[in-house]
């Protein structure tokens, strides 16, 4: 790595933090302000209760999110972004911007790559009497 090599460890740390499937989605939703558990689940399409709970615990442990439970009936629990969480979100949004800027170019490369390798495989198959399996 051209800068310093210890960057590698820090990158690993962030990716371990938010590289999973739901963390940044939750952080992003919490950016709109405190929200209760069930509303959070509704706001994030496709997330299961299990992952919502697990990811929230994870984020809470890291200090990115706070959990406040109000002793009422029915119970109410609100989750909110900490300052740390907000600062991380803004950094992550830079990544999103990069993705937005280049995602057309990326798709171009991908389909081109797929076409080339598909052509190569077809060539091999005929030359070898089609001994290789098609891609699943």
């Amino acid at each position: 790595m051209s800068p310093q090599y210890e960057d590698a460890d820090f990158i690993r740390e962030v990716l371990d933090l938010v590289g999973d499937k739901w963390s940044v989605l939750i952080i992003g939703t919490l950016a709109d302000g405190p929200i209760r558990y069930s509303d959070l689940g509704d706001a994030i399409p496709g997330i299961s209760q299990r992952m919502l709970t697990l990811t929230l615990k994870h984020l809470q442990r890291t200090g990115l999110v706070t959990r406040t439970s109000y002793p009422e009936v029915p119970p109410r629990v609100e989750y909110a972004l900490t300052e740390l969480g907000t600062s991380l979100l803004s950094t992550v949004l830079a990544l999103a911007a990069w993705s937005s800027d280049h995602h057309a170019e990326i798709r171009r490369h991908q389909t081109e790559y797929d076409n080339v390798t598909a052509t190569q495989e077809r060539g091999l198959a005929t030359r070898h009497g089609r001994s290789h399996r098609r891609r699943q």
Copy 2:
């Protein structure tokens, strides 16, 4: 998400790209200039041949890395960062900087959280006659 909600998809896209275990390490190493397969493997401690190959293919398909093979004996294959790859690296380094800045605070939160939950569990155990299993 306070900005636009489509950010979520873009974030997913980048994380799917480089959220795995080795991608950014490889990108970071390639930032020093073109390098051959085996040297790349030596430069990245702990990576297996399998993952080196797989991740390189992945990065190549996305257009972040180029593969150039020189028809010599012994064979020589060099991998290099594309411009796209370089631009991504600089963005990712912002994340690394965030991690570097806050990683002490993060560890503070984590140990505090662990202490609290450990204490709570101990309380439950004695009150219930220790009916719960210790954490593995």
